[in-house]
């Protein structure tokens, strides 16, 4: 049952010569063939093991990648009809770094179309099911990656997070998901959604695996002009350390909007952190309640610009019948994009259009600065801030599909980290009454992933649900 193991366990087994990476690949492939018809975590999985000759810490072990990042020679669909025939011609920098460290790949995971959604329901390739309860969503947009890791269809995966798209599905599927500081991981080769918010990060079964992948994918990249010139560090150094004396702020107001299950889980996590020697105190984030509005002005604005490139000329889908160039553009975009993508492009076009720019976009950028100030002030006093990752357990498939505003509000706790560029992790925080996973979010100041790893690792040692993952 190699597919049940964590990445670091498998690295050790391969190191000791007890397991070959090909055996892990075959174990995963068998698991995918049994499970994926039901879960639909993958857009594409690979039948052939492509060995990696480079010697590296990943030892030839197979990983999964969200289908909005390029692996050269493989399709990148972004779960959209628009890119349904697109083959990547280069590696994303994060993928290249994984290859240089000995990784191989098992497949490309499903997402909300162009990563726009919180449930993986907007995928052109069908909804991904939550492996804990297949009548429920896995979250999104990296729902395929989270469901694959939780169900044993992947050992570990990459996701991308623009407003919570790594952390929210990690929370709803009972796994670990980290959004690094903006600029830590190169966005080169990640299909752009909202460029000032997008960030690649790991989705794994434990905190150590997240640290191992972060050690590899971080680092300056001249091909991403927003990439940060920050030294790479060994994040595994921060595991299993004492967090005695750490000052933790809890965003208590957030709990008012949460289900009772989530409130109880948060009380329990405060108790655990206190037992580990943390001083936990309530904090205020005066502008956080405006974060969803702020985000749904800024992200669609950037998306409307980024997605202007899909015109049926250079790559991707082109409509078959049209009478002139303009009609080709319109029909291509009308037929190639799904409803939610069109909605976001429209919202973005509206808030940027003349007469509305000052009323929406300019105000939103000012508000973004205020939200950032709230966090800057808090991090002078606190090492980290905790909140639930999501207000509720995984919701039912279809429950919010027809109500975009309700769907947007499910990202209320994750969005602030994207707006402010700070790193944030979601780790498992017990189960709801219905036996579904809940998540604890830990946020720290920019480039302070060290604090996140220390706290997450210490918390996980006291409290984890790994033995309950739906791996059987």
């Amino acid at each position: 049952m190699l597919y049940k193991k964590t990445l670091h366990e498998l690295i050790e087994l391969v190191d000791r010569g007890e397991v070959k990476p090909l055996e892990v690949f075959e174990s995963l492939l068998k698991r995918i063939k049994e499970k994926d018809e039901k879960i639909n975590a993958y857009v594409n999985y690979f039948e052939e093991y492509e060995a990696n000759d480079r010697v590296g810490i990943l030892k030839g072990l197979p990983l999964a990648v969200k289908d909005n990042m390029h692996i050269e020679g493989k399709p990148t669909t972004c779960s959209s009809r628009m890119l349904s025939n697109f083959i990547a011609i280069f590696d994303a920098t994060a993928v290249r770094k994984l290859k240089e460290n000995g990784a191989t790949f098992i497949g490309k995971t499903n997402l909300d179309e162009f990563a726009m959604g919180s449930s993986t329901e907007t995928s052109y390739y069908g909804v991904t099911k939550n492996p804990w309860d297949t009548t429920r969503v896995p979250g999104g947009s990296s729902g395929g990656s989270a469901a694959a890791v939780a169900s044993g269809e992947a050992i570990a995966a990459l996701g991308s997070d623009t407003g919570g798209s790594i952390r929210q599905p990690a929370s709803l599927c009972g796994v670990v998901g980290l959004k690094p500081t903006y600029g830590r991981v190169s966005r080169f080769g990640l299909v752009a959604f909202a460029s000032s918010l997008d960030q690649i990060g790991p989705i794994t079964r434990d905190v150590r695996d997240a640290a191992i992948l972060m050690n590899i994918i971080c680092g300056f990249d001249p091909k991403d002009s927003t990439s940060a010139r920050v030294e790479c560090e060994d994040f595994t150094r921060y595991l299993n350390q004492s967090i005695n004396g750490m000052k933790v702020g809890i965003y208590e107001k957030s709990l008012m909007d949460c289900s009772q299950d989530v409130q109880v889980a948060m009380e329990e996590s405060v108790r655990i952190l206190e037992s580990l020697g943390c001083k936990v105190s309530p904090i205020e984030l005066p502008h956080a309640k405006y974060a969803v509005s702020d985000y749904y002005i800024i992200a669609p604005a950037e998306a409307s610009s980024n997605l202007a490139r899909y015109d049926g000329v250079k790559y991707g889908f082109r409509a078959e019948e049209f009478k002139d160039l303009k009609e080709m553009y319109i029909k291509t975009r009308w037929q190639g994009f799904g409803e939610e993508v069109k909605r976001r492009i429209m919202l973005g076009t509206y808030v940027l259009s003349s007469g509305y720019y000052d009323a929406y976009y300019l105000k939103a950028q000012k508000l973004r600065g205020l939200i950032k100030q709230d966090f800057d002030n808090l991090f002078k006093e606190y090492h980290c801030i905790i909140s639930p990752t999501t207000p509720t357990e995984a919701f039912k498939i279809g429950e919010k599909a027809d109500n975009p505003l309700q769907m947007y509000l499910s990202d209320i706790f994750t969005i602030p980290a994207n707006l402010t560029a700070i790193p944030a992790i979601s780790i498992p925080n017990g189960l709801s009454k219905n036996g579904l996973p809940l998540g604890l979010q830990i946020m720290a100041d920019v480039f302070r992933e060290d604090i996140i790893f220390k706290v997450a690792s210490a918390f996980e040692r006291e409290f984890n649900i790994r033995d309950k993952l739906p791996l059987d």
Binding site: S225, S293, K314, M346, A364, K366
Partner: protein
């Protein structure tokens, strides 16, 4: 309240089309979202600086160095239509 004509105008700006039978639902949802966003008008933002970019990076330059690029034939394989090493599009110039 954004009227349907305005929604149609935005669609044209974005080179999109809203199916006529979808228009009612689409503009209702569009308005619901914009109404929710009205909450930001509670705030006096007149004295705030706009945070157009959240990192402190400014003017990121690099050496103007020639490097090999991607293979043209490989790039054109992804094109819906191409000829003689170029993308082919419908005629845009009237004689």
């Amino acid at each position: 309240m954004v009227e349907k004509e305005e929604v149609q105008r935005v669609a044209q700006l974005a080179l999109l089309e809203i199916e006529p039978e979808q228009m009612d639902k689409f503009s209702r949802q569009f308005n619901e979202i914009l109404e929710y966003m009205e909450e930001i008008n509670e705030l006096d933002l007149s004295q705030c600086e706009a945070a157009f970019h959240i990192t402190e990076l400014k003017n990121v330059f690099r050496e103007d160095k020639v490097e090999p690029s991607y293979n043209r034939d490989v790039i054109l394989k992804n094109a819906p239509d191409s000829e003689d090493g170029a993308f082919r599009v419908p005629k845009v110039i009237e004689r």
